[in-house]
Every structure is written in C-alpha cells, then in structure tokens.
Amino acid sequence: MNTPPVPDGDLALPHDELGPTEDLAANLSPPTRLSGPIPWVIAILIALVVIAAAGGLALRNLANNARADLADAVTVQIIEADVEGRAVQAEAASDALGAHPLVTSVRLVPEAELQELLEPWLGASAASENVPIPALIDVELSRAASADELAQLQSALDSALEPLGGGARVDAQSQWLRPVYDALLALQYLALALIALVSMATAAAVWLAARNAFINHRETVEIVHLLGGTDSQVTRIFERSVIREAAFGAVIGLLIGLAAVWLLGQQFASLDSGMVGGGGLALTDWIIIGAIPVGGVLLALITGRITIGYALRSML
C-alpha cells in the first residue's frame, strides 16, 4: 500500500498568524441572490433617508439664509397722519439713525414704493392722501442687535423726535420671523428623527437577514467550526454577502432618493419665491447625501457582525 499523500511540514498556524481570509470567505460564501427582498428593503430605507436628509439640509440652509438676511436689519416706522410732519420726522429720524455707531446704512423707503407694496391689499386708495401710511426707514446694522441695543436705538429716536412732537417704532425683523424660524427648526428635528427611525429600521432589516442567513447556513457554519474555523472566519463569510446586498440596496436607494430630491427641487424652484430660493443645497450638503449609502453599508456591516457574533456564541 502506498503511503497516503499527506502534506509535508506544519500546516496549522496559530490564530494570530493566519493569513488573509478573504479568499477563504470568497470560497465559502453561500450563493446569495440579489433578487431577495432585503436589498430592496434597504433601497427603500436609504431612499427615505436621502429624501429626509436633503429636506432637513434644505430647511437648515433656508433658515440660515433668512436669518443672515434679517438678523442685522431693523425697520423704523414713523406714524404721523400729517404728510409734511411725517416727512420732517422721517428726515430727523434718518439723521439720528445715521449718527448711531451700530448703523451702517439708512434708507427712507420712497412713498411710491410703499404705495406699490400696499396696493394689493388697499387697492388704488393706497395712493390716496386720505389713507395715512407710515413712513418706513430700512436700517442695516453692522451686526445683529441685542434687545438692549434695540432699546438704545429706540431711545435715540425718541430723543430726536420728541422736540417735533412725534415718535417712531423700531421693529427688529428677526423678531416677527421667530415663529417661522421655530417652525423650520421643528421640521429639521423631524427630519433627524425620521433619519434615526429609518436607520433603526435598516439595522432591524439587516439583523433579520443576517439571522436568517445564519439559520439557513448553520450546517456550513458547524462544519467550518468543526474543521477548526474561528468565529472571525465564519463572520467574514457572512459579512461578504451582507456587504453585497447592502451595497446593492444602498446604490439603488441613493438613485431613487436623488431622483425624488431633484423632482421636489424643481417643484419648489418653480415657486420663484425669495425665501424658498435660500433652501438650495451646497456642495457639502451633496457630500453628506452621498455619504448616506456608505453609512448604510457600514451600519449593515456592524449590525451583521453583531448578529452573527451573538449567533456564534450560542454554538460550541
């Protein structure tokens, strides 16, 4: 009888000296089908995250742009029924404002412009002298003013107009927009909450998929274990299919999400509103959106690894 062809030399290496197990994982990876439901579930979830993230970022940009435009501006109203007196007071107020260190520019809004602004509400009578219209002064400040500084501005105006028997009212534009800012902030939190929920749903989908894959291939796992395979070698086998399914779903989800964002962007752009125009997405926003599928794959990888790790611990 011939000697059996047993290999020469030491064949087994200690764990920490094992070579890369990628080839082994490739050889052992159970054949997976991308036509299963999991890649598509991940695609839908990633699409939702992309839409929510794009919406949240657009709202943030919109709020920031509006705040930047309005935070360092105030409007001064001169309420005086007499046209000539109103003009004198407006002139005095403009002078007083121009002398204030916080003020960078003062513009007395022409009466014709005011009438044009009011015409949609008051009709042709807006141009009538019978309808007293306050004089408006647009004031730009060097920075956003605090409540104390606004009070100082009001006080300076009161001092200038008191000898003329008149008065003025200072309106910080950011104050009357505060409810709008609060609503935008709430919508951003809503987008964040949606992203968190969808991320959890993604993790749950991957957990179920990894657990089912483990159950379906338990026999292979047991054989690999009994032949001396380590937990990390077994985990790599499953990681490979998890990554493939998650990557496929993430790319499809990104494409669906981007298509939806583009369509929504077109709809809002057609509104031609100045405020909505501030809600465009910058390059950094697109980078964040582009990173979503990568994050999705990483989340799937970590979830899959934890799931398989727990499943392996139940085996000897």
């Binding site: 059996p4 290999p7 064949l11 000296e17 050889n27 274990h225 032949l227 380590t230």
Partner: protein, 250 residues
C-alpha cells in the same frame, strides 16, 4: 524498550444527556494514547456518535472530565477550541460536505482554515484526490456525486491536514469492500507512518479483524465495557518509526 507515551485523550466518568432526557453516555472512562488504533463498536443507539461528538469537540459533557492534548476541555474557553479542532480529522457519518463547494474545495477547507499557502493547498489536495480515486471529479459538487464518492471526499478532507487524531464514524458504510479495505489501509498508513491516533466507529465486525493490533472499545447502552483494562494502558509500539514518535511525545 521504548518509554511509555503520554496520553492524548483521557475521559474520566463522563456523562452526557441532551436536555432533560436520560443520559446517553454514563460513567465513560478511557485513555487514548498517541499512535494507537481503536475501533468503537456497539449496537445502534449505544452512544457511539455521542461519544465521537465529545471527541471531536462538538459537544461538552454533562458531567465528568475530558482532557485532550494535556488540556482540560471542560474549562477551555470556546475561543481556543479551533486550535484543538485543527489537530483532529473527522469523517462524519453523513459526510457533512459543504453543499455548494466542489470536491476540491471541500478537501481544501481544513488547509485553508489553517492559513496554508494556496500553492501547497493545490498540490496536496490534487494528490489526495488522486489517491482516493477522485482526480476526475475534483470540480464536482456533492449533490452530483455518489454516496461512495462523497465518503471518499469526506475521508480525504479528514486526513488532508495530517491530524494527530483521526475520528471516523462508519467510514466504510457506503463504499464497496475493495474501497473499504483501501480506506482502512489509508487509516493504517496514517497510524503507522505518521503516528496518527485513529478511532473508527463501525458496525462491521469483519473490519475489526483487518487491523490486528487495534484496540476495541465496546459501548453498550451508553456505558463503555473494558473487561481487560486495555483502554487504561498504552499499547505496545508497532514499529520503530512509531516507537520513536511515541518516545518523543513523552
């Protein structure tokens, strides 16, 4: 006269039960020595497969003590089990080949799990499959192979990494007498020339006579009978090579 070899496996009052069922193994005690050849016999349901499961570290006992390669297997952390499993070669009763892998990849599995260089894997596996008469079936997957072919793949996989202990559960059950004899000679060759300890579970009483120097372990209703005490003492070395190996194992 050679020195007595140190034990490679020692079972002491081992009991095994599944869940709350009665014990399938009770008070099993024996010692296996390096380079020895053992047959494990017993009627169906006597506990042969359960005993083999304990030996190939697929199961922990419900009670008793098991030492293998000088280590206590009961308290060994599961993370260290792969080191010990790589010293074992197992031929499972139902072969347990990986269904989606070819004959070549199934046989290569223990080498790849041990991180063996791929060139060496290719050479060793090709030689081994040629030796068991399957060189023309290297790329066949198990479901396209006959029972005998699958069994030969399982045996090739069990011996490819030159294990210190070879455990075979009914290894000749699905092959013709000629192939059965050839496989038995493979086990003997491993035992004689490499010093592998061999444990073969079988129903076939004719097989026992083919290896005269073997020791017989008889299981009866979960209890091991050893009327002569042969399982407590090392057998005499069979030839000089093994004697040298046994002596160096001390």
């Amino acid at each position: 006269m050679s020195e007595r070899p140190s034990e490679i496996v020692k079972f002491d009052n081992v009991g095994l039960r599944y869940g709350t069922d009665p014990e399938v193994l009770s008070d099993v005690s024996f010692t296996l020595f390096p380079g020895s050849f053992y047959f494990l016999t017993g009627a169906s349901g006597a506990g042969k497969t359960s005993l083999l499961k304990l030996l190939y570290l697929s199961q922990r006992p419900s009670r008793g003590s098991i030492r293998m390669f000088g280590k206590d297997m009961i308290t060994l952390p599961r993370g260290r089990l792969p080191d010990f499993r790589r010293r074992l070669g197992v031929v499972f009763q139902n072969f347990r080949l990986v269904e989606h892998l070819s004959a070549f990849d199934n046989v290569a599995l223990p080498l790849r799990l041990a991180g063996t260089d791929e060139a060496k894997v290719l050479r060793s596996v090709t030689d081994m499959l040629e030796w068991v008469g399957l060189s023309h079936r290297m790329q066949a997957i198990p479901e396209t192979m006959s029972g005998g072919e699958q069994q030969r793949v399982a045996i090739a996989r069990a011996v490819i990494a030159r294990p210190q202990i070879l455990i075979a559960d009914e290894p000749t059950g699905n092959v013709d007498p000629e192939m059965a004899l050839k496989l038995l000679r493979l086990f003997e060759a491993l035992n004689h020339r490499v010093g592998t300890t061999v444990i073969v579970a079988t129903h076939d009483v004719h097989l026992l006579k083919k290896v005269p120097e073997s020791l017989i372990m008889r299981l009866n209703k979960g209890r091991l009978s050893d009327p002569t005490g042969a399982l407590r003492y090392p057998p005499m070395p069979k030839n000089n090579l093994v004697a040298e190996r046994l002596g160096s194992a001390k």
